[in-house]
Amino acid sequence: MNLASKMKWLFGKNSDLYPANMPLGMWFWAARRITGVVVALYLFAHLYVLSTFWSGQSAWSGMMEVMTSDLFVFLDFLLLGAVIAHAVTGVAVICFDFGVGIRKHKLVYWVLAAVGIVLLIGAAYGAWYLITH
């Protein structure tokens, strides 16, 4: 199979991954998977930044000046958004594992999406406050 037909098979109109064909649960699955990889890779970036502790106080202050710049606060907000998306979708999985809402998948999804949006608004407020003060 060549690449074009493989892509068509994976993402074309008749595929499961074509957006219009994706049921609600699949959006949750896709969101969890993509944000999971992003957050796992962030873990190593986090360790790298914190390693500045070893270079002493002034090196840390220099690093923090970069990390508290508006750009990085915004990136932190995006990261927090990814974490929140990953967390609420993960909570849905755990709920279903324990049989909670097993006959009401859509309700559980929408309730958790609402919780995620509320948390995201809190995160946005924090980020906005840090950028404007």
Partner: protein, 105 residues
């Protein structure tokens, strides 16, 4: 285990993000002295180290599950397992040692 660590991470990460970013938006919580203060408080240190271990396990196991969707051959999966374990142990030691300057080692 992925479920168990997920619940632990929700608790640990909630505390971690609150203390490092949201506890007081008007002062710089990431100031060297503030970090030192937090790290030297045993409960907070335990939360951070707990978060390190659980997040590392959960993250690498998650990457492993994604990788296993693409890698089927048994020996290749075995090689991936070995690689993830080496990365995990190395990165956990790295993380444990990060607070060295505050804890005197």
């Amino acid at each position: 285990m992925q479920r168990v660590t997920a619940i632990l991470i929700i608790v640990f990460l909630g505390i971690h993000i609150y203390l490092t970013h949201f506890a007081n938006l008007d002062i710089d919580l990431l100031d060297w002295d503030k970090v030192e203060e937090r790290v030297q408080a045993l409960p907070i240190l335990l939360v951070d180290y707990g978060l390190l271990v659980t997040a590392m396990y959960h993250g690498l196991n998650g990457l492993r599950m994604v990788a296993f969707d693409f890698v089927i051959a048994r020996m290749k999966r075995r090689a991936l397992d070995v690689a993830f374990w080496i990365i995990g142990i190395f990165a956990t030691i790295w993380g444990l040692a990060i607070f060295g300057p505050f804890l005197g080692f």
